[in-house]
Point group: C2
Chain length 327, copies 2
């Protein structure tokens, strides 16, 4: 457990003591429970972010010709117009097939230490190639994808620029590195919440401040902590109607049955519908269900109002991304 | 026939007389055969372009939730990253179905007086709704599309702003008007060709200038004329391997069998593959085939080189479009 996580959990314990009474404590005192979003997420060992990789990753992210149909790209499901997700319950891809799970947003995903709902890979490099190959997503083998990219002078040059020390730069590992580098630029700083944390006490409305206090006092923060408001850890959650065994399918560990990685709450009002199968469209319903399932708590209407208001404060500045010109 | 068309055809006749000899005539003298691209295309009677309509049209153009799968929008096939087309042979849409025809670019389409390969509607308003309803494209009834849009406050407001005199602004006719208004902004001025026409004689290389002269002298300009280098008219063209009867399917007129609307040549290097079924990927092959089929002419290699070079001069400045934030 990180020093930060210990600090948070001690904080939760202290706050829980206070929660029996009125939520009169000044919300400003609660700022220490949280972290404003840094400008960039950590960069894993073994790679580096360069403008050349980011530029190449941008092109690859929008490139539909590395899909079997020729019309699906990363940006189809991680749609920049829709909060870098798709706003449908479950991901829909090759030949209209519908997958098992809801598409997570790419926004701030570099701040998570576990990718996918089941956390089967730790970082964006590990994530990036999965949807290209998945039968229900882009449905193209990596060999074929590499072959297609190699046909284009523009890509041959861009890979050589992005990986100058590599004798054979157009290969799957580098596709992953470039896409991951681009994705690490897709962060949403300066939300009202971040501005509040940095000292602008008027950045949150009184309702949002009460929501922030409730978020700590009721213990939401036990899992939703850190810069992305996710612990990148796995928690059992039985969503009504879902048979998805989640993390168990990766580890085979009984303790992981029905466990899913905590999703980020940043930009949560933009990333509906919610949960592993996207079956809950309304944010208030989602919060209510979380209270019942994770905290054994039926929130009062006023508290739900406050928590919803606080969630609205988590919407940051969207990254400005120009649509690339593909070859 | 318009005064301009008469002028062109007289020009072709004069040029044809000269074409027997060497193409020594100064390319600058050929500029009168052409028209630089105006800033905006004509706006049909019964509508008007306003910023509110353009803004709404931008949102609708990128809106996948008016498709049955929830992941296909106008921008899927008319992809801004790919010259506002898809760069695959035939349009691929709902459930991965592949249509009969190649996706035309939206760029400069407001300058055409006939839309679709078969010209079944004259203007962009007529075109805009077709792909939403088409079973192989977005596959959603217009009633359902309107219902979905009506769910969003943001759309209710945007339609009211765009159609302030309309008591019932969210309706199919207005969807068409808004999308068409947006599309009329997608023009590509200031190509090297346009700069040459406006007097910058160094904007075209000598090879491109020779290509421009050959384009007139061999008669390509008989069909590829006007600001978009299309007469918006229909010409019989039997593409090897294609059984598509084209315009005949609209009119039932024997003269229209296998006739297709002349495509624009603006940005033609970006809008491969070519012809009604997209079966020709290479521009040089496409020009060669056109020479043989339409002009009864086997171009010499040098002439093909020049014509290809001239086509490269028809790429203009791409419209800068920020990806909208959808509700």
């Amino acid at each position: 457990m990180s020093r930060f996580a210990r600090h948070i959990l001690q904080g939760v314990a202290v706050a829980a003591l206070a929660a029996g009474g009125a939520l009169a404590q000044d919300a400003a005192d609660y700022r220490d429970f949280f972290e404003p979003l840094p400008a960039l997420p950590p960069i894993p060992a073994g790679t580096s972010m360069t403008q050349e990789k980011i530029d190449l990753g941008l092109m690859l992210f929008f490139e539909p010709r590395i899909s079997a149909s020729g019309i699906i790209s990363c940006a189809t499901c991680h749609n920049p117009a829709l909060g870098w997700t798709d706003r449908i319950p479950r991901a829909t891809g090759h030949m209209g097939q519908v997958g098992e799970r809801n598409t997570p947003t790419v926004l701030n995903s570099g701040f998570l230490d576990a990718q996918f709902w089941d956390g089967r890979v730790p970082d964006l490099e590990g994530q990036a190639l999965g949807p290209i190959e998945a039968d229900v997503e882009m449905a193209m083998s990596l060999d074929e994808a590499i072959e297609r990219l190699t046909e284009f002078d523009v890509y041959r040059e861009a890979f050589a620029l992005a990986f100058p020390d590599d004798d054979d730069p157009i290969r799957a590992e580098n596709v992953a590195k470039a896409i991951a580098s681009f994705e690490r630029t897709l962060n949403t700083p300066n939300s009202p919440f971040d501005r509040f944390l940095r000292g602008d006490v008027r950045a949150l409305s009184p309702e949002q401040q009460r929501g922030m206090v409730a978020f700590v006092d009721y213990g939401c923060i036990a899992c939703h902590n850190g810069p992305a408001l996710s612990d990148s850890n796995f928690h059992r959650f039985e969503l009504p109607g879902s048979k998805d065994e989640g993390r168990f399918l990766v580890t085979g560990d009984e303790n992981d049955r029905f466990a899913f990685r905590t999703p980020t709450l940043r930009n949560v009002v933009l990333t509906y519908p919610y949960f592993n199968n996207g079956s809950v469209a309304d944010l208030r319903d989602a919060i209510n269900l979380m209270g019942q399932q994770m905290l054994g708590q039926d929130f009062e209407d006023d508290t739900l109002d406050d928590l919803v208001a606080f969630m609205h404060a988590l919407t940051g500045e969207m990254p400005v991304v120009a649509i690339p010109s593909l070859p």
